[in-house]
């Protein structure tokens, strides 16, 4: 952490939301999100959408407090909504109007005067990569184009913060990459802070400055991407047989290796680690087929942490 962290764009304190019927969507969530591109990750049902609705001031929290850009979500909801752009997860476009008409109208609804709304609608659609197509009815668009219109309508009001809920939903791999690049560009070049909610961590970690992981309404971990990856130098070892043997042998020699999908991950301490692995494999006479340095995927870190937590939870009951 730098000595003077920039003011948080989102801050929640012990935020709890219990729906009627005792369904707890958020459970004492305390998190602070710095400016930049932030990934909000969690499985489906982890509480991402509930959090977004509270931030938009559409749902009152049961307990706790949430602030967006310094405004309280309950008392300052009107102000917050003039500063936010929101892209919902689901389909939200009428098929029988053109993208230009639609985004212009929503620009008006964001409080833009008529001519400004028209100009900004054209610009937003151009920024998301819709040119001549914007005069066609939305019903004729591909999924990728529709996602772009959804992003354009979030952008039209010149928000200070964008909330994007599963922006790559329904896109093919090329479309996903294009959408992620677009989001990264908006974050970097347009100077707009972005929160991207996704259940696909591997995807959004590519474009995020920081990550917030929630699970069952609670904070799993929130940190910058670099701090996630700092301690994650690993050596991936693959052998066609004798994986368990090798793991045991490595443990004897002081290396705590873990198995992930037929790959042995060994924490990389220095050049010495390579020698130990080589000796082990040679001594056991195993067919080595891969030995490579790997940056640990953030996903694995989360998984570890979750496993730890699950274990801690289990212990008292045992």
């Amino acid at each position: 952490m730098p000595p003077n962290p920039p003011p948080a764009v989102i801050e929640t304190r012990a935020l709890t939301k219990v729906y009627p019927g005792h369904v707890t969507a958020l459970d004492g969530l305390t998190v602070s999100v710095a400016p930049g591109v932030t990934g909000l990750v969690g499985a489906n049902g982890a509480g991402k959408s509930t959090l977004i609705k509270i931030l938009l001031g559409l749902l009152p929290p049961t307990k706790g407090q949430a602030k967006v850009l310094g405004h309280d979500c309950e008392t300052g909801a009107d102000t917050i909504r003039t500063l936010l752009g929101y892209m919902p997860e689901h389909d939200c476009l009428p098929p029988d109007v053109t993208a230009t008409e639609f985004v212009t109208h929503l620009g008006r609804m964001s409080g833009l005067p008529p001519t400004v709304a028209k100009e900004r609608a054209a610009e937003s659609l151009r920024h998301v990569g819709l040119h001549e197509e914007r005069y066609r009815q939305i019903g004729t668009y591909s999924t990728g184009m529709k996602q772009r219109v959804k992003l354009a309508q979030a952008l039209v009001g010149d928000p200070a913060l964008l909330l994007l809920d599963e922006p790559t939903n329904g896109l093919d791999p090329a479309g996903r990459t294009a959408m992620l690049e677009l989001i990264a560009r908006i974050g970097a070049e347009f100077g707009i802070s972005i929160v991207v909610a996704s259940h696909l961590l591997g995807e959004i970690e590519r474009i995020c400055d920081q990550l917030v992981a929630i699970d069952a309404g609670r904070l799993l971990r929130a940190d910058t991407i670099s701090s996630f990856t700092q301690t994650s130098q690993l050596l991936a070892v693959e052998v066609t047989e004798g994986l368990a043997q090798l793991q045991a042998e490595l443990a004897v020699r002081g290396l705590a290796a873990t198995v992930h999908a037929k790959t042995l991950l060994v924490p990389l301490g220095g050049d010495g680690t390579y020698d130990v692995v080589r000796d082990c494999v040679a001594d056991l006479d195993l067919p080595l087929c891969r030995l490579e340095q790997r940056r640990q995927q953030v996903e694995e870190l989360f998984r570890d942490e979750q496993d730890d937590q699950d274990e801690q939870e289990r212990v008292p009951h045992a």
């Binding site: 559409l58 749902l59 939200c92 009428p94 005067p113 610009e123």
Partner: protein, 297 residues
């Protein structure tokens, strides 16, 4: 930032520009949404197909007034009274209009799930139904009052002397009031029924069937009780079963004398008035509740 016209020809990416200019207040946004909805109530800004029903409704309801203008010019007296102007035609046209256009205003947005995009903007959940209600009321007002104005214009064009014009004007004013009453209540009923369903055909069906069925029920009951001129309690109460007859009973309670859709309510008049108010309040309450729920979903 390279945004001069010359640069635009070469550099396609002008870079992002923010907006620091003035923004509309919430009330102005509601006004913009009302205007947008008012236009779409007549199919303006939409395809040609969307204009068919509003235009037909408008022509149909203006026709008697136009015919009146010719009749008056030939020397006949005015064919329709202002306060019960072609009342059966009016019931049919208003029902068709709200059955077609109330879903146009609310069901489309429900169907395409565009509402979260409104509610994440400065609008509050109550503002959206308010704008839709004002828009449909204004559209109905136009549909109900323009024929009266044509009727008035056609009549005074052949009137002789200031006294005759003044008499027409005095007759017109309560007629305009009745039109306002119809618009205010029927817009609320149309919207609260239409917003039950995102399927446009269903919404249209719900509105049309509720209006026509209740109206037929009231007319049937009235017929069974001896018709328009009956003075039995049953006849006086028969109009309480449909919004159109409630409106007509309220008109008579407020002093209207032209024979309309219902028997003279007599001392049951206040009941008609009260029921009209209750119906309006219930419809508007239902509308607001519906959108409070939608905004949180």
């Amino acid at each position: 930032m390279p945004d001069s016209p010359q640069a635009a020809g070469v550099i396609h990416d002008l870079g992002y520009r923010g907006y620091d200019g003035p923004r509309l207040a919430r009330s102005q946004i509601v006004r913009a949404l009302t205007w947008h909805s008012f236009r779409s109530a007549f199919g303006i800004g939409r395809g040609a197909k969307a204009k068919i029903i509003p235009v037909l409704a408008f022509i149909a309801i203006c026709l008697p007034a136009v015919i009146n203008a010719f009749a008056v010019a030939r020397g006949d007296s005015r064919l329709y009274s202002y306060d019960v102007y072609a009342v059966t035609l009016r019931v049919v046209v208003v029902t068709l209009f709200i059955a077609a256009q109330a879903p146009e205003l609310v069901s489309r947005d429900l169907r395409s799930r565009v509402l979260p995009l409104y509610f994440c903007r400065p609008l509050r959940p109550g503002d959206y139904p308010l704008a839709k209600y004002l828009a449909l009321t204004a559209a109905l007002l136009l549909l109900l009052e323009v024929p009266l104005l044509i009727l008035y214009a056609g009549t005074i064009a052949s009137a002789h002397g200031g006294a005759a014009v003044w008499a027409q004007t005095r007759a017109l004013i309560p007629g305009l009031g009745v039109g306002l009453m119809w618009a205010v209540l029927m817009a609320a009923i149309g919207l609260v029924l239409a917003c039950r369903s995102g399927r446009r055909a269903y919404a249209t069906g719900i509105v049309a069937i509720s209006c026509f069925l209740t109206w037929s029920l009231s007319l049937l009951l009235l017929g069974a009780e001896g018709g328009m001129n009956a003075t039995s309690t049953g006849a006086r109460l028969a109009g309480l079963f449909s919004p159109f007859t409630i409106l007509d009973g309220t008109r008579m309670w407020l002093g209207g004398t032209s024979p309309g859709e219902v028997a003279d309510p007599g001392h049951f008049g206040p009941l008609y008035g009260a029921l009209a108010v209750v119906l309006l309040a219930a419809s508007l309450g239902g509308l607001a509740a519906r959108y409070r729920k939608v905004s949180q979903a």
